[in-house]
Subunit: 219 residues, 2 copies
């Protein structure tokens, strides 16, 4: 197991070096099945595609359902099927990168397999992790699955349009997330109504800018 | 990996033999984080505890939040913490059984780690698997995570009280589940309102009776 993780870290570092050379900000998008990762991607692409050059890598066990949804938006998308595997690893991502034209990209979002446990243990070469939690999952989830929140730079609390019909305690959830990771950005949103998405878009654009500035500084 | 699975199968068979000797029906309760496994357990215990002698094993990464909820109902509960591990395995369950008095039990429900992928690959000695899917996760999930539905005897479609506020297509979801597993029982429910729980209770009681009858037949 340690060997697998070590080997993965080496390939992840290679992936990251390649992204950095091109000045591409790469986000590893995590969350439970049905938390709304693909819906968030659809909203994000719609909003940002006129402004930034972006591409998506879609991780799924077997189907290309999510990649098909993203392809409809007219941006480059590469499907990784893990054949039942519970997470993406760096070598899968390395293979997918070869199918993308990196020369003009600003932003690459990699949607991981729907799973709140295993994907947190495998770096894939990303600059940051974002975890999407649907409020329908309950406010106890951050403390039950702390690693993924500890490793994420932003926690997106999705489906807030359903708050009136659930007993979800937003204050408790946010407090728990911050207790696990004091440096995390919190972003309550609804992909249905669009509420709160401004913070998410703003955060993403800021990360892209920071990465570009860093590269310009190094050149 | 194959060695791990093989070794697990051996211990799972030992667990199952022990349960069968005692005539206990054992259910492996599966589902995404926040699908409502613990809420379903709370409802089930409340309804069945006067009628059947039951116990619970709770699988969690780190906390005892779910076990604490179950303990409030006054039935025996054993906590397994996987220390970050993404599924229960047969040897963890073997260790937990030692902490239970099996002599009078009719029904043991083992709540697995919230995860729609990995727990499906590890038998723990159960007689049947049940998968809980929250309708807020979306109707595309059965085809995206087919193994867990293929291996389950019953699929519980939870949170149907939220149907009016989502675009969940119940007919499509049920059709997909049955296409993966034609022998599965479908049980749409709401743990909030109690709607549909009769089918679930009836199914459980039937399984307990079948197991008892089988044992009596063998004696």
């Amino acid at each position: 197991m340690e060997n697998i993780l070590e080997k993965n870290e080496i390939i992840a570092a290679e992936n990251n070096a390649l992204f950095s050379k091109r000045g591409i900000f790469v986000l590893n998008l995590l969350g439970s099945p049905g938390s709304g990762k693909t819906s968030l991607l659809e909203r994000t692409i719609e909003y940002l595609k006129g402004e930034l050059c972006l591409a998506v890598i879609e991780g799924d066990l077997f189907t290309s359902k999510d990649a098909d949804r993203i392809a409809r938006q007219g941006i480059p998308v590469v499907q990784i099927n893990t054949s039942g595997g519970c997470h993406l690893d760096a070598s899968m991502v390395k293979g997918a990168i070869n199918q993308l034209d990196l020369t003009t990209l600003d932003l690459l979002i990699i949607e991981n397999v729907g799973n709140l446990v295993c994907p947190a243990e495998f770096n894939i070469g990303e600059d940051a992790k974002a975890t999407v939690l649907s409020i329908t999952e309950g406010e106890d989830k951050p403390l039950k699955y702390p690693l993924i929140f500890k490793q994420s730079s932003i926690a997106v609390l999705n489906k807030i349009d359903l708050l009136p019909y659930t007993s979800f305690d937003m204050t408790a959830a946010q407090g728990d997330i911050v207790s696990i990771n004091p440096f995390i950005t919190l972003s309550p949103i609804s992909c249905q109504t669009g509420e709160g998405l401004g913070v998410w878009y703003g955060w993403l654009k800021q990360q892209v800018k920071i990465k570009k500035d860093m590269i310009n500084c190094l050149v």
